[in-house]
């Protein structure tokens, strides 16, 4: 078990290092950092001095080491565009994206898992066919179109909900949250739904497929042959076994949530990291792009490590030693 966790940790560190390497190469090789930092009037000598000061003449490995250890200390460098520290820019944007992502993930799980179970247990019902068709359309509509439709319906036609920005937020020592004001919640609904719908359809289809697979397994057939009440059979025996593959995929999907938040944030002008990333791409603001990359990968790796821990809780085969 300890080995299992250690192995995953090492793999995670590897992924983070690789992503850091990509981010560093971006910084180092896409465009010249020195010419980005200086103006036209800077002399060649000054440029060379800056180059030397920044350590750009050092060997690649040393530069990468410096880059990585700076990152570890939270020193993410400065934006080409705003000349602000990137860490500050990310810190002000992070809460918006995380809150959006978490709420939409919760929506997708709260609706997706029950719907998946329902459609797996009644594979031939009319409701199942209807749900399946709806989700098929759901995965086929681009996120931005869902956003547009929601804005059109609830914002333009009905005028019930705000269609851009975060509305009222509360500052909790650097963390601005939408959760404490009615206005904040109202602003959150449409973006979270937009982001959640795609994840929801994926979750539902996945739960359904895994559940169908588990329902055909020998131990479910054996439990049926023992007359275990159907409620227990479905929600204790089948669902717990279904969750093992499902939580893996949900961990992987978290990356998708963050990625699609770029789109959602763009549609709803949601002041999160995704919008920041889009702006930095438009202005080729390499340091911000690189840091965004590292932050996203960090959350992805973190969530997947948590999923592995969850695994150990659920599956005794990882927890308890096999007896001969």
């Amino acid at each position: 078990m300890v080995y299992f966790i250690l192995k995953r940790l090492i793999q995670s560190v590897f992924v983070m290092l690789a992503v850091a390497l990509i981010a560093f190469s971006l910084f180092r090789f896409v465009g010249d950092p020195v010419s980005q930092m200086t103006g036209v009037e800077t002399s060649v000598e000054d440029r060379e001095r800056l180059r030397e000061d920044l350590g750009l003449n050092d060997p690649f490995a040393l530069q990468f080491y410096r880059f990585s250890s700076d990152m570890l200390r939270g020193d993410f460098g400065f934006s080409y565009r705003t000349r602000q520290p990137v860490s500050e820019m990310i810190a002000t944007r992070l809460p918006a994206t995380l809150e959006l992502g978490i709420v939409s993930l919760i929506i997708s799980l709260l609706v997706g898992i029950p719907a998946g179970v329902f459609t797996a247990l009644r594979p031939r019902g009319f409701a199942t066919q209807a749900i399946l068709l709806t989700t098929l359309v759901g995965v086929s509509i681009p996120t931005f179109v869902i956003g547009i439709v929601l804005i059109f319906l609830f914002g333009v036609q009905l005028g019930w909900l705000p269609t851009f920005g975060r509305g009222g937020t509360t500052d909790l020592g650097g963390w601005t949250t939408s959760f404490l004001t009615v206005d904040g919640w109202r602003s959150l609904i449409l973006p979270a739904l937009t982001l959640g719908v795609y994840q929801l359809t994926l979750t539902m289809r996945l739960v359904r497929a895994e559940m169908l697979e588990v329902m055909r397994s020998d131990y479910i057939r054996f439990a049926t042959a023992r007359g275990i009440p159907y409620r227990k059979l479905h929600f204790k025996h089948a669902l717990s076994n279904t969750m093992i593959p499902v939580i893996t995929i949900i961990g992987l999907q978290f990356g998708g949530v963050i990625a699609f938040s770029i789109v959602t944030e763009s549609v709803f002008q949601w002041p999160g990291m995704g919008l920041l990333f889009l702006e930095s791409i438009r202005f080729v603001d390499i340091p911000v792009m690189g840091v965004y990359l590292v932050v996203i990968a960090f959350f992805f790796v973190l969530v997947n490590l948590l999923v592995d821990m969850l695994y150990i809780l659920i599956d005794p085969r990882l927890r308890v030693k096999e007896a001969s």
């Binding site: 250690l6 131990y219 054996f222 439990a223 023992r226 308890v320």
Partner: protein, 560 residues
Amino acid sequence: MLDVRGLTVKFPSRRGDFTAIEGVDLAVKPGEIHGLVGESGAGKSTIGAAIIGLLQPPGYVSDGTMTLGETDLRSLTPSQAHEARGDRISMIFQDPQTSLNPLMTVEDQLIETIQAHSDASTNTARNRAISILEEIGIKNAGDRIKAYPHQFSGGMRQRVVIALALCTDPELIIADEPTTALDVAVQSQVLDLIRRLARTRDIGFILITHDIGVIAQVADTVTVLRRGRVIETGETPQVLGQPREAYTKALMDAVPRLDRKLDRFSTPDDGEAPSAPALTTGIDAEDWLMEGAAQEHLGLEVRDLSVRFAGTRTSIFRKPEAYVALDRVSLTVEPARVLGLVGESGSGKSTLAKAITGLIQPSEGVMRLGGEDLPPARQRPRDHPARRLIQMVFQDPYSSLNARHRIGDILAEPLALYGLEGDKAKRRALAAAMLELVEMEPSNIDRYPHQFSGGQRQRIAIARALLARPRFLICDEPTSALDVSIQAQVLNLLKDLQTKFGLSILFISHNLAVVRQMSDDIAVLKSGQIVEAGDSETFFTTPSAPYSKELLSLTPAMPY
């Protein structure tokens, strides 16, 4: 107690209803073990599923009556039927590895099952569970009950499965191939347990199996099925000893005998059995092979061969413990003779085959083919002559032929690869002729493997091996996936070809009776070590190693 009359089960399909079971009568008394025996497609499992009400959709019972005691099973509502499951009828499945929920302790599964059918408190249920585990022979049951299924070995797990089927005190237990996944030693223990439970608890058992040996060992009465119909039913000694029907008789004849060696099996005429076609083009293939057979006979020698696998790593500080699959194995396959290699699952039989064919790298040891050094896997170049001289026939005819290739292409492959025949048209003609030699229609070469039965596919696999003009053949459980009558035909074919072309054969099997019929010499493998080797008939009459004696005594001998 259980009375089934005129049971008919149909599976609707797009080509009309398929009748899986037709007009089956069956009666089981309390305390009686009733065997249901038949080859694949006989409908044995379908009968069991129909009785317990768990037919796979879209199958349905279209006709007949089923009564258990006073209860008409067909008239039960779905929820009544579900309550009766476990309470009155239970079931045991084939594979103990997959029959238990891996995420729940044995205790939870037992208590839950007991409480599903009674108002017992959790404590009462737990005590009952422990006493049942003790009854079926699990030592230290009070502690072991807290364990998860994966912490039990295969045989113990099957006992837990039986405990689960038993803990609600059912009147009838349907056991569907309960010992097929088990080794012979565990099999006989489980069968003893079933017999004991039937006697002491007065439970009726329906024992579904393809293995006539198992029926002979424990069943009081037996029903022989074929293609969904009852062929013959009655007391076991009468049905197996003095069968009235030709099919039963033929079936009994096809069962390999452990107690004596026969020259040939008599095979039941099963429609599939080829009626020895007049060889026309088959002669060409035979001549062509004879040309190859003119090469000298090659024997195989293995000296001190060891194979180690890396174990699963559990710590970063310790190296994983190596698992020793073969431990200094030495054996000799004499030229143009058959060496039978026997052993239980996990004894290393297949590992040896893989080491010889170059799929696995041995950690030490020497192999010699016909006196010449045979390099191990990594040192054996792709164009080494042994690649052609050694060929293999596999266990599972459903996976040993590439499903996406035509028979003709499969057969022509060795011819092209080894440069035995340069001309494409000639390769095709030879492939067709070869089919005839293994007693199949030459016109089949344009078809795909899935269009053939298991026995036919095994013939194709043998044809493919022969077309390399090999001198040494490895047969790894070549008939254990086949029905007994088909097994007899394939074994006959192998025997004929071996004598005709002077092949040396390493014949691997867990089935002692089959090995006795096929082998000249024998070697017994246990946990990666050879425990006995020598002349086959001597081994079967007077085994010397204690393990060999145990193995022979546990194998059910056919008393009829």
